[in-house]
């Protein structure tokens, strides 16, 4: 497998050598990660009393982060699956990033569940005493299935690149990396039969990845939807969560495109066209997401069920800043920035994406916390500090650790494999020459 040398040089900047910036950035995030580890040790030592979670608000930052990361994961899968399946021309430089978002988020997300569980020693009960009727069991099965699927899909997309790197004689890497490329490339040499096998597998897996992403994130939404709690017991939670996930994932994709374009000088490969295209996708999804949000709250408000009214009242008073940010600014601002050609610059689109991602995290926060603070039945023998949730530094540190692991894994992967798919880019070049 041979590839254009310029392409190889441009797309494998960190594989051959490690820059000082890489080390510094990695050290900073490693520091955040270690802070999280320290927080976790405190939590294991002293118990969940060190968190803001109590008898009323039993879910806090951890579950918010879990839903958020899982959302990023499913959206990454959906975006990469759809782009691959429909053979979208401009997908090539961004598809690998979407695939990596999927797998990395899927690895990080479930850890927040582990942080939330009081008796981790009983975790295996989920596997030895599963109840098919329980949405928690559905979720465990779904996440495991999704994790396997995403790994296979990611690996399929890497095979050709590993073969290219294996055969790239000018590549100055350590022998273990060469050996790794040899093993992982499975002896792929781009013969017609191998190409067909790989292409078929990729197409099938891209279809599966789309289906699984929708099902799995719906299952996660049903954990809330099937629960008789104000604000959660909603029939549209499944599609609403899926759309919200794609919204945040698209936003994150834009941010990563901006970061990698800047750090690795990929201006030639990731152009304004890519930002605008993904940005337009973000706007369309923002419209859907806004529509679902409005429908959800309108029906609850109009229904005037006592507890729903109390919850909405709480959202518009106690949580009004968060509510306005998550459901007004987070939707309208990105849509406005991208909708008007005048504002469509790469930094603006990136800021819009950052707002969208942050708004989605806040949206998850105001879905989880205010509801738990507004139970249908007042909890007996409760205490003041159990009602109002306020995260502690331990929850903040573990949240920061989660984000740090995301960044560190991206950085580590960029040391082994190209962040932009070489094989896809080469294919694009060939197509352009043929045209």
């Amino acid at each position: 497998m041979q590839a254009d040398k310029k392409l190889l040089k441009d797309l494998t900047p960190e594989i051959e050598s490690t820059s000082t910036t890489w080390y510094i950035t990695f050290s900073v995030f490693l520091g955040f990660f270690l802070l999280g580890i320290y927080g976790l040790i405190q939590q294991i030592d002293k118990g969940h009393i060190v968190t803001g979670m109590r008898d009323n608000v039993v879910w806090g930052f951890y579950i918010v982060n879990f839903i958020f990361f899982m959302g990023l994961s499913y959206s990454g899968a959906l975006i990469s699956g759809v782009l691959h399946l429909f053979n979208t021309g401009w997908r090539k430089p961004v598809i690998r990033m979407a695939e990596l978002i999927t797998v990395i988020s899927l690895i990080i997300g479930p850890f927040f569940i582990f942080f939330c569980i009081g008796r981790l020693d009983r975790l295996y009960f989920l596997f030895i005493h599963p109840r098919i009727q329980s949405p928690i069991t559905w979720d465990v099965i779904a996440i495991i299935t999704d994790l396997f699927g995403c790994f296979i899909y990611l690996y399929l997309s890497f095979v050709e690149d590993f073969a290219i790197l294996r055969d790239y004689e000018g590549l100055q890497v350590s022998p273990w990396k060469r050996k790794l490329y040899k093993i992982l490339s499975l002896g792929y040499d781009g013969s017609p039969r191998q190409k067909k096998l790989l292409s078929n597998a990729k197409t099938i897996m891209s279809v599966m990845i789309i289906a699984i992403a929708i099902i799995v994130y719906s299952v996660l939404a049903w954990i809330f939807g099937v629960t008789l709690q104000p604000g959660w017991h909603s029939t549209i939670f499944g599609p609403y969560f899926v759309i919200a996930a794609v919204f945040s994932g698209t936003g994150l994709l834009i941010i990563l495109m901006w970061i990698f374009r800047r750090i690795y000088h990929l201006e030639e490969y990731i152009t304004k066209r890519h930002f605008v295209n993904v940005g337009v996708l973000l706007t369309v999804i923002a419209a859907f997401y806004g529509y679902f949000t409005f429908s959800d709250y309108l029906t609850k408000w109009y229904g005037s069920i006592k507890m729903d009214s109390i919850l909405i009242d709480k959202l518009f008073n106690e949580y009004y800043l968060l509510f306005i940010f998550a459901n007004y600014i987070g939707i309208l601002l990105p849509a406005i920035i991208i909708a008007f050609p005048k504002f469509r610059t790469i930094p603006n689109i990136t800021v819009a994406a950052a707002i969208a991602v942050l708004a989605l995290w806040v949206n998850r926060y105001i879905i989880v916390i205010p509801t738990l603070e507004t139970p249908f039945l007042p909890v007996q023998d409760t205490r003041a500090e159990w009602i109002k949730y306020s995260p502690t530094w331990i929850e903040w540190s573990l949240t920061l650790a989660g984000v740090s692991v995301f960044v560190m894994l991206f950085m580590l992967i960029s040391k082994i494999a190209p962040i932009v798919s070489i094989s896809e880019m080469q294919e694009q070049d060939t197509e352009e020459i043929l045209k």
Partner: protein
């Protein structure tokens, strides 16, 4: 780029604004609710119980760890004791026989309770006047009819004065609460009788507990008499017939079928992809041999 910067700073400002509610928590001075209650149990032990709570979001929130003082007021204010509230916001003081309980000219005990307050919680107090009452309950079967006989008197100097024209409730404890099985109005002699239902389930031997009580009575407070007797129908606890449902051990068939089909479909496709990878590897091995 100018546009980008302004949007960035706007976003940053919003970030700071939205993080405020997460980071901070408002604290106001609490205006508590204090309740003083009197209890007399089957064994004639007496208690004063103070509950210190406040209301937040429709919920009654206990205030634990607060010092509550109990006083007798009938013969000048006399401290009976101080107790700290527990996690339920409750402070209980047993009125042991050593504690002197003077009565006022109407023959009533006068109690009061006080919470002095602190920097964050306002002070609160409550008062209560109680007349001592002796409640008796006897159970007998007359002509196969299970009959409860009740008598209530207030001891006064050397004689007892019957409690008349008052209603006494009869309960049987069930799993979650007390089941009311009847109420009896006391006659001029302070007595009453009523028939106990014969079809009430008891434990496996037919034992059940019968409780009679004055509840939150303005003069007597809470006075209770409890007796255990074999008047219930012996219950044979049979396990319900196993069936498939959302709440039973075995899941509905449709659920198992749906999940199995979905999983088989998905994992089948995974298998296809893995087999494709194996075939790619085999092809390269074949070429290497050639």
């Amino acid at each position: 780029m100018k546009n980008g910067s302004s949007i960035f700073y706007t976003a940053l400002l919003f970030l700071l604004l939205v993080s405020y509610p997460i980071l901070s928590q408002e604290e106001n001075e609490i205006s508590p609710y204090i309740q003083l209650q009197y209890f007399k149990n089957t064994d004639e032990s007496r208690f004063l119980k103070t509950t210190l709570t406040y209301s937040l979001n429709r919920m009654e929130i206990p205030i634990p760890g607060m010092e509550i003082s109990f006083f007798s007021e009938a013969d000048g204010k006399e401290l009976l004791g101080t107790v700290f509230t527990d996690y339920k916001g409750v402070a209980s003081l047993e009125l042991t026989k050593n504690i002197r309980l003077p009565i006022n000219e109407d023959g009533l005990w006068e109690f009061s309770t006080e919470f002095n307050g602190n920097d964050t919680i306002e002070a609160a107090n409550s008062e209560l006047s109680i007349k001592d009452v002796r409640l008796e309950m006897s159970l007998q079967e007359v002509d196969s009819i299970k009959t409860i006989s009740l008598k209530a008197v207030t001891p006064q100097n050397t004689s007892d004065i019957p409690v008349s024209e008052e209603v006494v409730m009869i309960y049987v404890p069930r799993m979650f609460s007390l089941l009311p099985v009847g109420e009896a109005a006391l006659d001029e002699g302070g007595t009453a009788s009523l028939e106990f239902p014969s079809d009430l389930p008891g434990d496996s031997e037919g034992n059940l507990t019968i409780i009679t009580k004055f509840e939150e009575h303005p003069d007597f407070g809470n006075v209770e008499k409890k007796v255990e007797i074999k008047w219930g129908v012996p219950s044979a606890n049979q396990a319900p017939v196993a069936h498939r449902a959302l709440w039973t051990k075995t899941a509905p068939r449709w659920m198992i079928i749906t999940l199995s089909v979905l999983l088989a479909g998905v994992w089948g496709h995974y298998l296809f992809a893995i087999i494709s990878l194996i075939l790619i590897k085999r092809e390269s091995k074949k070429k290497a041999k050639l």
